[in-house]
């Protein structure tokens, strides 16, 4: 639902020609997802759809219809990559199997994004993004406990992250083997199938968490991974995060606190003994913090040489000097949604922010592709439309 389109978005925003294939009536289900621009439900007003489908061309096609499937196969003949997220039994039923498509185009890379992969006892299990996030094991470890919240924490359910953090992660993890397979195909190696199980993608993402357990460590839970000194702490107007790993950062923390007497104690001189006194150290920090805003803490702390940062709210991120200097938010003009600032990407190629194009209107590129690439006549287009194929 989100991961597959996000994978396509990553490729499209980097300049690939990505054609989004949508059901003729209503299009992608994301078009009906709130929130909407100005809270007005409209098939071109879904914030999620507008975000996930930047830079793509869009056609309508009902490939569950044999005529439509035939058209899809025509399109696939000239394509490098097909990304699809149908449940395996649907792909099977429709004849959208990689084996069938590779006969039409031996160079084709097919990436299938499904909750549990193309094989195995759970392959036909249903999973929404919530379920996939918990299927991958990261759900169980979220939210991470901290001294502010640890009491009674395990009585509350583990959660997903944000709205679609897991799905975006999976989309990236689908793009990686897809791009590698594309590279291989273009090097003369021919196409292949990328079987992307969302569950396995997230397990892979958390390889380090699991590495500790696999070498005989304790079962990771929300409370086994708390930071001893620092972590998240409240201050005058919000929260800050202290994350210390090196000696000079500890010295910076002491400097920030004004070189208090307790920092001269024997136990404060070595990391091992400090860890035993983490409760006391955190107590001192919590006494000091309420006098300062998060911006002040960050400035004072970083100046003194310790590693601390403020928890920005979304408006602070959007309006930050940092994002402005980097042009992370770029103007995109959409025929219905107008001109708005969209988040681009974390990467710049040769210093230039990615030039995002707007998401397509439903069927916006029907003519361009059906007539331009497949050579359909106007009559044929009309017939297809009447039959509900496009």
């Amino acid at each position: 639902m989100v991961a597959g389109p996000y994978c396509g978005k990553l490729l499209a925003d980097m300049g690939a020609d990505v054609v989004k294939v949508e059901a003729p009536l209503g299009g992608d289900v994301a078009r009906r997802q709130a929130p909407f621009l100005n809270s007005l439900p409209h098939q071109d007003g879904s914030v999620l759809f507008l975000h996930l489908n930047t830079s793509k061309r869009g056609i309508q096609l009902d490939y569950t219809n044999p005529l439509g499937l035939g058209i899809l196969k025509e399109l696939v003949k000239d394509a490098d990559v097909l990304v699809e997220d149908n449940p395996p039994e649907v792909s099977d039923r429709l004849g959208l199997r990689y084996e069938a498509l590779t006969e039409l185009n031996p160079k084709l890379v097919v990436t299938s994004v499904t909750p549990f992969g193309q094989s195995g006892p759970y392959k036909d299990h249903k999973a929404y993004p919530l379920n996939s996030f918990h299927a991958g094991g990261e759900g169980y470890l979220t939210p991470l406990a901290n001294p502010l919240s640890v009491n009674g924490m395990l009585e509350r359910p583990p959660t997903k992250q944000g709205r679609f953090v897991g799905e975006y992660e999976i989309g990236m993890l689908a793009a990686i083997p897809t791009l590698a397979a594309l590279f291989h195909s273009r090097a003369g190696g021919g196409g292949q199938h990328v079987d992307l199980s969302k569950q396995e993608a997230l397990i892979g993402l958390n390889f380090l968490e699991m590495a500790f357990w696999l070498i005989g460590g304790p079962v990771p839970t929300r409370t086994t991974r708390m930071m001893d000194i620092g972590g998240i702490m409240p201050c005058k107007d919000g929260f800050v995060e202290f994350c210390l790993h090196e000696e000079h950062q500890w010295k910076g923390l002491v400097r920030m606190l004004g070189d208090p007497a307790w920092a001269e104690e024997e136990w404060a001189q070595k990391p091992a003994t400090r860890a035993e006194h983490s409760g006391e150290i955190n107590g001192h920090l919590r006494e000091w913090l309420p006098q300062y805003t998060k911006a002040e803490v960050m400035e004072l702390g970083q100046q003194a040489g310790t590693t601390v940062a403020q928890y920005n709210e979304i408006p602070e991120v959007v309006e930050s000097e940092q994002m402005r200097v980097r042009d992370y938010f770029v103007d995109v003009t959409h025929p219905v949604a107008g001109t708005r600032k969209y988040p681009s990407a974390a990467y710049r190629f040769d210093g230039r922010p990615l030039a995002l194009k707007p998401a397509p209107l439903l069927g916006q590129h029907n003519e361009e592709i059906y007539r331009g690439i497949l050579g359909f006549s106007l009559e044929e287009l009309g017939q297809m439309r009447e039959l509900g194929v496009i």
């Binding site: 918990h134 359910p157 992250q161 083997p177 397979a181 397990i203």
Partner: protein, 387 residues
């Protein structure tokens, strides 16, 4: 034989965000040469995470303070397709290995530089680790309970940045394959994390709406949560998105009287009364294990999946059949490592080399790749170039 066979990467990166990216690239078949120095150790070098993050890579030692080492680094770059580094901005320039210098050595080189802020803006001068970047990115505000503080994301955050690096690097490799052009990619860790909340950012720029953490809530679905099961800290996720699924759910749990309550009659009502709904569902799940709940609900077409903890994650029949770990031999020791997601049918991920010892491949890199004689290599050792 991997998808990226024939590609060589000169990997100057350290810690987690860079190395996790190059580990993916190496697992896809590229030859990744990790450049280290005993004079400045990678923080992870002697820890338990080193093997997991640096498997598949070759290891060479170059003392970057020695001018001869810089020359060798440049020679290595000449023989490479891409360079990856995640030092603070200015460090590579300071070595004489900035992008412009490397372009003189190889016109079409791809260079990826990852740092907290991508080298520009007020954050560029800050020091920190992934949890700080999460705080700055706004992502921490989107995770946790509605009535709780923002949440820290730790190890996973570094890997999110790493995967972002890998996507960009692969994009550049494909572009180079097509056009012969190299590029300098600069990546901001803060932006990589902010991008994980992209639609939430867009909701603010479009509608001025500030999204925040909502636990497991969804604006359009109820039930949509994790429900307590039998056993300690044991949970199952259940999400119901259609009236059809709701009816199937009711039948599957034996249609208890409360399911006929008008408070739960349709979607909007269930969302409004989700707190009560969740309590009632918990009475049912509380008597069963997460696995039992899944086995009862999935055949009815209801999305129910355990919130897997490590032993059940790796021990369940589906994962056992699919296989997500591989055994690696490191000397006397056998270790199990987690495989990256994605089964490629023709060029599967390669997982056959544990993390290398420091300088383990000096002979190969300096001798075979750079063509130095054994005597030349011994001389370099004596001069401290290979520290």
């Amino acid at each position: 034989m991997g998808a990226l066979s024939g590609v060589r990467i000169a990997d100057f990166s350290w810690a987690l965000a860079g190395p996790s990216a190059t580990m993916m690239i190496a697992s896809l078949g590229a030859e990744v040469i990790k450049i280290e120095s005993r004079t400045r150790l990678d923080v992870t070098r002697h820890g338990p995470t080193f093997d997991a993050t640096n498997r598949q890579k070759l290891a060479v030692t170059l003392n970057m303070r020695h001018p001869k080492a810089i020359e060798l680094a440049k020679e290595l770059v000449r023989k490479s397709d891409a360079v990856v580094e995640n030092f603070r901005p200015g460090v590579m320039d300071g070595f004489g290995l900035g992008y412009e210098s490397l372009r003189e050595v190889k016109r079409d080189i791809i260079m990826l530089s990852c740092s907290i802020a991508g080298g520009a803006g007020p954050y560029a001068r800050y020091a920190g680790y992934a949890p700080l970047f999460v705080a700055l990115s706004g992502l921490g505000q989107l995770v946790g309970y509605e009535d709780g503080p923002p949440t820290e994301i730790r190890i996973a955050a570094d890997i999110i940045v790493g995967m972002t690096n890998a996507v960009a690097l692969l994009g550049a490799l494909v572009h180079h394959q097509e056009t012969g052009e190299g590029t300098h990619i600069d990546i901001s860790a803060v932006e990589a994390l902010a991008s994980m909340g992209g639609d939430s950012l867009l909701d603010y720029t479009m509608n001025g709406r500030v999204q925040r953490r909502l636990g497991n809530d969804d604006s359009a679905m109820a039930p949509h949560n994790c429900y307590g099961c039998a056993g300690e800290d044991s949970w199952v996720s259940i999400a119901i998105g259609t009236e059809e699924e709701w009816q199937a759910f009711i039948r599957a749990i034996g249609a208890p009287a409360w399911t006929a309550d008008p408070r739960f009659a349709h979607g909007l009502a269930r969302i409004r009364h989700r707190a009560e709904l969740d309590e009632l569902i918990t009475k049912w799940t509380g008597e069963r294990t997460p696995q039992q709940v899944m086995e009862l609900l999935q055949p009815a077409g209801v999305a129910a999946v355990p919130s897997y903890k490590a032993p059940d994650l790796f021990g369940n029949p589906h994962i056992r059949e699919r296989g997500v770990t591989k055994k690696l031999q490191k000397g006397e020791q056998a270790m199990e490592v987690v495989m990256p997601g994605g089964k490629l049918s023709k060029t599967p991920y390669v997982i056959d080399r544990p993390g290398a010892q420091m300088g383990e491949h000096n002979g190969y890199v300096l001798g075979t790749v750079l063509g130095l004689s054994e005597q030349e290599i011994r001389d370099l050792e004596e001069q401290g170039v290979l520290e």
